[in-house]
């Protein structure tokens, strides 16, 4: 059996009365490209935020490489308010901040691009190499970490070359066209040296040609860096093209799961999602 990289066990995320993710269980194995799809507001981004520690789920567990990285059950006010469908709660509470989860090897991009807007393309990627530093404030200030600094710069530049933005490295990040900003976000995520890459709608705003290139690009970096990829995407062609398996959610609940062809023909999915898309 392939190694389990990521595993969600009945993860529920409730905001006030809104259950954005409802008892969601999923897994991603090493070397896979897995897609998470669903109509707008289905809870996909929220699921990513629960994995990366941006939100602490109301209930449920997340495992990464077999280790429990997040675990929670309804606390305080949520005990009465809880409206999820799963009522068996884990006993432990494990909380990790996003920076720690990134250090463990899970990197992500954002649906609503979040680049460091005053920084150049190169600086954006360089910042993402900070987490592996060994220098302290004084060695860094007095440039005693010269070697490490050189390494960081070299690595950042390599990542830019991988995504094909090296010649734009001194441009301001926000001056790039949309598609290139998305690629820059991927370069930045890669610079943290992840094992698992979470991509939130990487093709949003791209034309068919760019989307096509992106598909090949994602498969390419997956192989080059030995990554596992988990992506949210609305472009069905891309999803069907590159993913090994697909999870479909609607109103926070899992409604279908399988290889792309299976999912495509699933009647529930067609009504919930594809039907909406094709009308």
């Amino acid at each position: 059996m392939a190694e389990r990289v990521l595993e969600l066990d009945r993860v529920t995320m409730q905001f006030g009365g809104v259950v954005a993710v409802d008892s969601l269980s999923m897994r991603v194995d090493r070397g896979e490209i897995v897609a998470l799809i669903g109509p707008n507001g289905a809870g996909k981004t929220t699921a990513f935020n629960c994995i990366t520690g941006v939100y602490t789920p109301t209930s449920g567990q997340v495992r990464y490489l077999g280790n429990l990285i997040i675990s929670n059950r309804p606390q305080g006010r949520m005990k009465e308010l809880y409206a999820g469908s799963d009522k068996a709660f884990p006993a432990e509470t494990v909380v990790n901040t996003p920076d720690r989860i990134t250090k463990m090897g899970i990197a992500r991009t954002f649906q609503n691009i979040r680049l460091f807007k005053t920084q150049t393309v190169f600086e954006n990627v360089l910042i993402a190499t900070h987490l592996h530093k060994t220098s302290n404030l004084f060695t860094a200030a007095f440039r005693l970490n010269y070697r490490e600094e050189q390494q960081m710069r070299r690595h950042a530049l390599e990542m830019l070359e991988v995504v094909g933005l090296a010649d734009l490295k001194d441009e301001k990040a926000t001056s790039l066209p949309y598609g290139k900003q998305r690629r820059l976000e991927i370069a930045r995520a890669l610079a943290t040296k992840p094992q698992l890459l979470l991509l939130d709608e990487p093709a949003a705003g791209m034309n068919p040609q760019e989307t096509d290139d992106l598909g090949r690009f994602i498969t390419g970096i997956k192989n080059q860096f030995g990554l596992t990829v988990f992506l949210i995407e609305h472009h069905m062609d891309l999803v069907m093209d590159i993913s090994d398996r697909v999870y479909v959610i609607d109103f926070g609940k899992l409604i279908a799961h399988g290889v792309p062809e299976e999912v495509q023909d699933n009647p529930d999915v067609i009504t919930a999602y594809l039907g909406v898309e094709e009308e």
């Binding site: 996003p98 979040r114 460091f116 190499t129 900070h130 220098s135």
Partner: protein, 477 residues
């Protein structure tokens, strides 16, 4: 070509060394010089003249350069026909009178020679790259020192330079937090107060303590630290308080920091004036009789070193992370940056240098009282930061000097009653200066919202680009 450069550098260094040695040794040569001036022994026959001569020697023994110069001039002016001041005597007198300037000039030439020599043997090209900035900084320091010895250290110009340097440090420290890390703090005056008091308390001369702490039996602390150690301690004390405040507050959303630090500054001001702490803080009384500085070079050197350190931090990987947090906290955290750690780091560094700045301010004022560190002081510094540009160190430095010069010097005349002919100008009276000042500031903040520099730095490259528009047009428009 190489040998020419080496010879040139060697000559430069030699000249510089001769200059410095000649200037510095002129102090010991003064008694001999007095004898040679008075070759005929006129002083020995005239008690009044002898007294004037002795006064020069007494002042010399006392070590006060100003006194020596004053009594020397009186001696020379009093008996011009009996003293021989021609030839070598004239030259040596010149050297003695201009000792600080000549030493400064000599040291500057020494730096230039060393850089030239270094550049010849430099393989990596680093020295060559650093040479121009190093020379400019050297020129600045030598220039300021010479300026002081020419115009006199009590003049308005030098006063503005002293206070401006101190404000530059506290403004840069505040900019590190507010401009570079995006944390809005309003505690600057509080941290400066801690620095000022820590410095004063631990440096008051032991024999003066009974007098300073007259209402508190000479106070609790009965020793005095060396000045530099006390400056570092002042920073450390402020940093320690920042660390404590940060523990709960920096985990919350940023807005709370402003409230917490503002409250802290108000509380600390009251606490330091509290009678029960009198044996340490002298209650609401002044602290005085601690070391002060008399040359503008001191605040320039200390503030310069501190600002340089902050600049180094900002250009390191830590500074990049601070800017990332400012630009987008969520993305920064997703890139593996520990928000709390880095915010805490920025807050502690900023407060450390606010503390050092407070200590320098205490030295500048020669007395210090907690009541003076009001939130108005914080707003003043915040204004400087805004005027200079959030996220620009050079902007903060320039704005500090401009701000201090305007408020202490250029607008002074508005406070004096003035008349054109017999017409008494209305409004021109005490306090009007602050009104005009506020209006100017309001205009600056309204119309130059991003300050003088925005978030750019003043650099040689930038100036060069400005000066040659044809070359600069391409890259950045």
């Amino acid at each position: 070509m190489k040998t020419v450069k080496i010879i040139l550098a060697a000559l430069l260094i030699l000249c510089a060394a001769v200059l410095v040695i000649a200037a510095e040794s002129s102090k010991d040569k003064l008694p001999g010089l007095l004898e040679r001036m008075d070759a005929q022994g006129a002083a020995a026959q005239d008690t009044k003249m002898q007294k004037a001569k002795d006064r020069v020697l007494d002042a010399l023994a006392e070590g006060s350069r100003e006194k020596v110069l004053r009594s020397l001039e009186r001696y020379l002016d009093g008996w011009p026909d009996r003293l021989d001041t021609g030839g070598t005597v004239a030259r040596e007198l010149f050297v003695y009178r201009n000792r600080p300037s000549l030493t400064a000039a000599g040291l500057f030439l020494l730096l230039a020679g060393a850089l030239l020599l270094g550049a010849v043997f430099d393989r990596t090209g680093k020295i060559r790259k650093a040479a121009l900035p190093a020379l400019l900084i050297g020129l600045l320091y030598a220039g300021v020192y010479i300026l002081e010895s020419v115009v006199g250290s009590g003049t308005m110009l030098i006063t503005v330079l002293k206070k401006g340097a101190i404000y530059a440090l506290v403004a840069v420290a505040m900019n590190l937090l507010n401009g570079f890390t995006g944390l809005f703090s309003l505690g600057q005056a509080g941290f400066m107060l801690i620095g000022a008091y820590t410095f004063a308390i631990f440096t008051i001369e032991t024999q003066s303590r009974a007098q300073v702490y007259q209402y508190y039996d000479g106070g609790l602390v009965q020793f005095a630290l060396p000045t530099l150690a006390a400056l570092a301690l002042a920073g450390a004390a402020a940093a320690f308080f920042a660390f404590l405040i940060g523990l709960p507050v920096l985990r919350l959303k940023s807005d709370y920091l402003a409230i917490a630090t503002l409250g802290f500054a108000e509380i600390i001001r009251a606490v330091f004036q509290y009678d029960g702490l009198g044996p340490i803080t002298n209650g609401s009384n002044l602290l005085r009789k601690y070391p002060t500085f008399d040359t503008v070079l001191f605040p320039f050197l200390v503030a310069g070193a501190c600002v340089a350190f902050i600049a180094l931090v900002i250009h390191s990987t830590y500074g990049r992370s601070f800017k990332a947090i400012r630009d987008d906290e969520v993305a920064a955290e997703a890139m593996g940056i520990n928000l709390f750690r880095h915010k805490q780091l920025a807050f502690v560094i900023s407060s450390f240098f606010a503390g050092v700045g407070g200590a320098l301010l205490a030295m500048y004022q020669t007395t210090v009282q907690a009541a003076a560190f009001t939130s108005a002081m914080t707003y003043e510094i915040l204004l400087i930061v805004v005027i200079g540009g959030m996220g620009s160190l050079t902007g903060s430095v320039m704005a500090s000097f401009l701000f201090i010069a305007a408020s202490e010097w250029w607008l002074r005349f508005l406070d004096n009653e003035q008349a054109i002919g017999s017409f008494q100008l209305p409004l021109m009276r005490s306090g009007f200066r602050m009104v005009v000042f506020s209006v100017i500031i309001m205009a600056v903040v309204l119309f130059y919202r991003r300050g003088i520099m925005g978030d750019k730095e003043l650099s040689l490259k930038r100036i060069a680009r400005r000066l040659s528009p044809r070359k600069g047009g391409g890259a950045n428009g």
